[in-house]
């Protein structure tokens, strides 16, 4: 029983699920509101999926906001012109983003370091422009409005309307729990072990017989599917799909969330990062009009003083100091840093 629990949901994860379960009751006490909790969970799905790429494979993709946005547009367009349901548009949003991601991944999977990063920015910006060019479909700058949160349930048996923010919170909660467990399984699966090996040494992984470009293609596509799913939920939350999460300056938000929370150090890093990011944004914007300045300074401080993110602190205590630090190990690490970002 104990091992079964560890295999599906370890204790920290159960704690996290419990916290989100009672969060709507706690939020008013700390000046929050239910919708903020919903937004945290949606972005957490996005960030956890994105961290497969950044934290676990070491690939710094900077244009992932595009796939988050695309999920919303695909959901909205399919709901408007194809089917009025809830699940089918959500699936189409996910698959649409995943297919776009799969095509982009064909071009970027063999690139490394700065070339990989730049190419993902270029593709991200391309999708952002596409939204404006195809404004008869997407609504352009005004966004694709009129997306409906339809009732969820079994037809004929029971229906729960999702118009209410609390009902929608628990709808998102159920999906957040399910997808977090799925991602946890992926990280510990053979596939998860291989992508983490690629992060540590791609040349070794390929010398062991792994076609690393195929793995990178797969993990990129997978992270785009999670981004599309989260983006679909986000469009339901806001009753519309809007271009701004796809823009160049917001596309990097998810990267920041992962880094701040400690996506390199811990599976849970992205969730904490999202919570810190969104809660502080709300808090600072009530304090001052120049909240962006405060916000920027704080994140700079975190990156400078906690390079492994907030959850990196827990690892720092656990690890003994490396006693046998040879030149070879240092060279290997700086090579890793050059190709994969901070470690």
């Amino acid at each position: 029983m104990r091992s079964l629990l560890a295999e599906w949901t370890p204790l920290p994860m159960l704690g996290m699920f419990a916290l989100f379960l009672i969060l709507p009751a706690l939020l008013p006490w700390i000046g929050g509101y239910t919708y903020l909790g919903t937004e945290v969970m949606i972005w957490a799905i996005f960030a956890l999926g994105y961290n497969l790429l950044l934290g676990h494979t070491g690939l710094p993709a900077f244009g992932h906001g595009a796939f988050f946005g695309l999920g919303g547009y695909f959901l909205g367009m399919s709901q408007k012109w194809m089917t009025g349901g809830l699940w089918t548009p959500l699936l189409i949003g996910t698959l649409g983003a995943a297919i776009c991601g799969a095509v982009v991944a064909l071009f970027v999977a063999r690139k490394r370091g700065i070339y990989f990063a730049l190419l993902t920015i270029a593709f991200g910006t391309m999708f952002w422009f596409a939204v404006f060019v195809l404004d008869s479909w997407t609504g352009g700058e005004d966004g694709l409005t009129g997306i409906r949160r339809l009732a969820v349930g079994i037809p004929g048996l029971f229906q729960v309307p999702l118009q209410d923010n609390l009902a929608f919170y628990y709808f998102v909660y159920a999906l957040f729990v399910a997808l977090t467990v799925v991602l946890w399984r992926i990280v510990r699966s053979p596939f998860g072990q291989v992508i983490q090996a690629i992060k540590q040494s791609e040349s070794r992984a390929s010398a062991l017989g792994y076609d690393t470009a195929r793995y990178k293609w797969a993990v990129f596509t997978l992270s785009c599917a999670f981004a599309g799913f989260a983006g679909g939920l986000y469009s339901l939350a806001r009753f519309g799909a809007f271009p701004e999460p796809m823009s160049l300056h917001q596309s990097g938000n998810v990267v920041l969330m992962c880094l701040v929370g400690g996506g390199f150090a811990s599976f849970y890093g992205p969730v904490l990062g999202v919570a810190v990011f969104l809660v502080l944004r709300d808090l600072f914007s009530t304090l001052t009009d120049h909240w962006m300045l405060l916000y920027g300074l704080l994140f700079m401080a975190i990156i400078v003083f906690l390079p492994e993110g907030i959850l990196g602190l827990t690892q720092r205590k656990r690890r003994p100091a490396a006693s046998h630090d040879t030149g070879a190990a240092q060279a290997a690490r700086s090579e890793g840093a050059a190709s994969g970002g901070p470690r």
Partner: protein, 259 residues
């Protein structure tokens, strides 16, 4: 050589040439590595050993020439394709998964794990075949008891042995080792020596080496590389007496005799 005509070599390089810009590193190299033998590739610094090794393993493409493995032309194959054909290598500069434990390093190298590499659901630790195979390899390279130590926390000698263990975990028919004794001494060197001796009748080993005593005592066949050309090839006794080899390699040979 009559022996090579009787049994075709497992790995064969013909007419290899490689230049970096105007610098010709390898010029018309021919090499044959016979099955179930320990073959060594030696030569002074800058002779082209590592370039040759990188071409054999598919990291570099030759400008001219062909490489055949089991009679099949593999010149254009990527390193991962070659590994899946049973050619496994170790690295001169340690190339381990530093955040992984000893067990994780070896387990991810086992073919039973590679075959389910696109399994996204079952925990990697549930693969009993890979787990057992990894445990055997860890015992073989003398790292039993260190299974759960992260590679970066091992001592240098232990990491050298793990480097070989990871290469061996790939179940090679042909094991290519790039200076396995580099920086190694004492007990780890003994373990490595015994290991190569034990493996030499089970699989084919090609080793690039500086340590002459290691090469002379363990290998069946030696090729000497000097300034991008093979200047001698034969059994250790013949190489030891070869005048040309002694001329370009004298210092090291003298040292080897004394030890």
């Amino acid at each position: 050589m009559s022996a090579s005509e009787a049994a075709p070599p497992l790995l064969e390089a013909r007419g290899l040439r490689k230049a970096f810009g105007g610098n010709v590193v390898l010029d018309d190299i021919n090499l044959q590595f016979e099955a179930k033998r320990v073959s060594a590739l030696i030569g002074p610094n800058g002779a082209g050993k590592t370039t040759c090794f990188n071409i054999l393993t598919g990291v570099l493409a030759p400008d001219r020439g062909a490489i055949r493995y089991r009679g099949q032309d593999i010149t254009g194959l990527s390193p991962d394709r070659r590994a899946r054909l049973g050619m496994c290598r170790s690295f001169q500069i340690l190339n381990l998964f530093n955040d992984y434990t000893v067990l994780q390093n070896v387990r991810v190298a086992v073919p039973a794990m590679r075959r389910c590499g696109f399994n996204l659901w079952t925990p990697a630790t549930n693969n009993r075949e890979a787990e057992d195979k990894a445990a055997g390899i860890i015992r073989l390279v003398g790292l039993a008891g260190h299974e759960h130590v992260e590679a970066k926390h091992l001592g240098y000698g232990q990491r050298r042995l793990l480097e070989i263990g990871v290469a061996l975990a790939g179940e090679p028919d042909l094991l290519l080792m790039d200076e396995p004794t580099s920086g190694l001494g004492g007990r780890p060197l003994e373990i490595l020596r015994e290991l190569v001796q034990r493996l030499s009748n089970a699989l084919t080993i090609v080793v690039i080496e500086h340590d002459m005593s290691f090469v002379l005592s363990l290998s069946h066949h030696i090729s000497v590389l000097h300034r991008g050309a093979v200047i001698a090839a034969g059994p250790p006794a013949a190489i030891r007496e070869n005048a040309e080899v002694r001329e370009c390699y004298l210092g090291t040979l003298k040292y080897a005799r004394r030890t």
